[in-house]
Amino acid sequence: MLTDGMKMAQLTLKNIKKSFGDTPVLHDISLDVHDGEFVSLVGQSGCGKSTLLRIIAGLEHPDSGDVLIDGQSMLEAAPKDRNIAMVFQDYALYPHMSVGENMAMPLVMARLPLYARLPMMRSITPAGRGAQPEIRADVEKVAKQLRIEHLLDRKPAQLSGDQRQRVALGRALVRDPQVFLMDEPLSNLDAKLRVQVRAEITELHASSGLTFVYVTHDQVEAMTMSSRVALLQTGHLLQVGTPNDLFADPANLDVAQFIGSPEINITPGESCDGKVTIGATTLPIALPTSGPVQVGIRPETISVSDAPGLGALNSAAPTQRLAFNKRLIEDLGPEVLIHGTFAHAPDSIIRIRAQKSDAYSSNGVLAKSNSLEVTVNPNQLLFFGADGQRMRPTTVAQKRVETA
């Protein structure tokens, strides 16, 4: 019932604007979500991502703009008529109903006439009794798929967090929606369950083929689950692209800083006469304009020269050596984070993400000396102008980083 019936669901947001009182929340948002796509709306709290989701659901009305599904405007349609299902952040399960009743709710509403939905009438009226077995069968089918068929008689209060999560998913799935909306569905789970449910949602997307719109503040969730990520900040859509696009080819400084963990290193530089200087180091990179620039260096792209085998560069790539003052080392297990500054650019704070090896030990290079030499690939540096917009070098071809 989930995969059969070839339903197309192209979701289009056109110039959505929304203010609450005098506070603008969304500035002119346009976004296309293709059929079967998994699009995450990411951003810090207050960026407008939840409001945007609620506008798609029909729980909120935009001040201007349009929401289209398969080319049809949905603005006048009630939430139930949009063929959209939504999973709320705290699940919003009906606490007085059993799991089965919770999941049956959308079906009862859709299949029974009003008089048969009144209290007690469901078991008395022919319409109510007639629809009952079918509703039960549909609920059980979805419950089985989500492995909660043994919980159907329980109340939500008797369930654990991930079980409630599954019930909320089930309630959304039974109506066989075209578009599936989720508002931070993992935020109430502990870290271990989050990883597990994250994988389950990804599988659900793959097996159902539905169009998913997923709101989260967690870039890891967005990067791991999505076909495309839409990054929002203070009501502006900063960039839409595949997770790798956003990571390796950010449109501006905000995107570069939001995506990636640990965060991208930003160090000041100067663009002048076809060269970029960072402290005392000069790189042969020509930027379109002269003046101060901000140089972004992903922690993953830096390697430690003194410790062969540490770092991510292969020997064939062009390299640039930089002096580095180590401050402290964080051992994450399989890898280490090295904090410190570039010797010639004192206000830089750099984190290096390196593979753990023999160099990191009690008598290894890293432990012995605070002065290290690190190597970066100039092609992997990201340059941003004073306004935060990305500047692309005119001489050196930009090479994409394939590791995330």
């Binding site: 939430p79 919003a92 009906y94 859709a110 959304a172």
Partner: protein
């Protein structure tokens, strides 16, 4: 040995700590009730020093007395008039006011005003309004070509009149209780209901509002029932049980027997019967409030 000694000290301390509360409950509730019960077994009157124990004679007299049956009848009939109004009107008002954005607080204050007034004084105002000759209500009825009503003089009408006054005084209070209950319903349940297709007002009410309001509704029902059985002040001030005992309700009868006819023993028996009824309501409330809480 030391362990059990410590335990003993702790137990003693525990008893010491609950002692003040226990003494207060004994002094204020248990001992007086015990005295009322003992009094109900005597023929004690306020006008005579001499009394003797008569066993359950007062109770036997009570259940055989037509006056008692009449008072009980009046009380239940009054409660039947009063309770649906006190419950349904308050609930409808609360739901209507809750959806108001602009005037919510103004309306809340307006409906709550009667609760803050002294019912005894307001009873006199109502007496003036409902006066059969000069009353505003009768004059208004006449203007619209409707018959005048003898609000307090007609034995078929008087309980309705008293119910109207009591409703006026309690609706604001119940409404505030319901408003508190409505406000505590999570908003996202209504949103989930809207997504699920339950956006019709009837569905919203029966699927979300009513079940979530369960504990509040039970509380309002029980406290209103107790209020209904406590009807006394308006009767004492406006009708004195008249006309022809048509508004003689239970508590007024107990008052008459005790402080007008000085039959303290019999009055004590009536009071204990009343206490039993109230206790029953409290029991129902306690039983259901435990089962109806979802969170």
């Amino acid at each position: 040995m030391t362990v059990s000694k410590r335990q003993q000290t702790q137990t003693r301390l525990a008893y010491l700590l609950v002692l003040p509360a226990t003494l207060l409950i004994l002094a204020i509730y248990i001992i007086p009730i015990l005295f009322v019960f003992l009094g109900s077994l005597t023929d004690y009157t306020l006008v005579s020093d001499y009394y003797e124990f008569v066993g359950f004679e007062n109770y036997r007299q009570m259940f055989g007395d037509e006056v008692f049956a009449n008072a009980l009848n009046n009380t239940f009939f009054y409660a039947l008039l009063f309770l649906p109004g006190a419950f349904i009107i308050s609930l409808v008002l609360a739901i209507a006011i809750q959806e108001q954005k602009q005037f919510r607080s103004v309306l809340e204050v307006l409906y709550f005003l009667p609760v803050t007034s002294t019912l005894a004084a307001m009873a006199l105002v109502w007496a003036a309004l409902m006066d059969s000759g000069q009353g505003v209500i009768n004059n208004t009825l006449q203007t619209f070509g409707l018959p005048r009503v003898n609000w307090f003089g007609n034995e078929d009408v008087v309980l309705y009149s008293l119910a109207i006054i009591s409703l006026w005084s309690i609706i604001g209070f119940n409404m505030v209780l319901f408003l508190a209950g409505l406000t505590s319903i999570p908003k996202n349940l209504y949103e989930a209901a809207a997504m699920d297709g339950a956006d019709h007002p009837v569905d919203k009410f029966f699927r979300v509002t009513w079940p979530m309001l369960g504990p509040t509704a039970m509380f309002v029902a029980v406290t209103s029932s107790i209020t209904a059985f406590k009807l006394f002040d308006t009767v004492a001030i406006l009708t004195q049980g008249g006309p022809d005992r048509a508004s003689e309700v239970f508590l007024y009868l107990a008052f008459l027997e005790g402080f007008e006819y000085f039959n303290m023993g019999y009055s004590a028996a009536l009071s204990l019967f009343f206490l039993g009824i109230i206790f029953l309501f409290a029991l129902i409330q306690a039983f259901f409030s435990d089962r109806n809480v979802h969170y």
